[in-house]
Assembly symmetry: C2
Homo-oligomer: 127 residues x 2
């Protein structure tokens, strides 16, 4: 099924609470995750919440990556959305699990922009 | 089912191609969408691609919103991820459909951070 983008939504449970509250650790992890999917970075937003929790969003030429953490619950929500044609491998999930020291993880991969019958019409338009 | 966050993934098809390539229009639309979900904005990244397409990512205290557009296909991928306890209504989808002049749209809503049996353990921990 042809699609413009791939979007991986990862739930990380039982993570190290100190790590989830460490903005530099999370920022570095997401930037390395961006490298793993061969992304070109446009800009990064990194924010530390009080009393705890961090948000990091990385806008990339190929869409975006994000992490939001809830250290009090040992939980992090990670998104990797890319329009690169390279398939997302399990390497990126394994990397994030390892970096957050998660005991449990689930993920959902969605295809974004499945143009279906629109492809034919689109491709018939002269460039 | 108790969850830390709600994540709405919206696919907009058959949009106005000029609008999808208009960075200010898309930026303004996403900022207004953030208002509709009563979000508090941390920072905004807005980028125009050559020859066409835009990306806008809004980091909010409650998580993030994003839009990535493919004007050449009349397609936009919109994400609204919020940990607000207010339920996401159809108003935000109707607003985005109207702003992008989409002829077709689909959406998926995911619960993020469904702690399941972990809630009891978490809530037993003294503050």
């Amino acid at each position: 099924m042809k699609a413009l983008g791939q979007h991986l939504l990862i739930e990380l449970y039982g993570c190290d609470r100190g790590i989830l509250d460490d903005l530099e650790h999370i920022r570095h992890s997401l930037l390395h995750a961006a490298e793993l999917v061969s992304a070109t970075i446009i800009d990064v937003v990194a924010h530390k919440f009080e009393p705890c929790g961090v948000t990091v969003v990385v806008a990339i030429m190929e869409s975006h990556l994000s992490v939001h953490t809830w250290p009090e619950y040992g939980y992090a929500a990670v998104d990797v959305f890319t329009c690169s044609s390279e398939p997302l491998t399990s390497e990126i999930q394994d990397y994030l699990i390892s970096r957050m020291k998660a005991t449990d993880a689930t993920s959902v991969e969605l295809k974004r922009g499945v143009l279906a019958g629109r492809w034919a019409a689109v491709e018939a338009v002269p460039a």
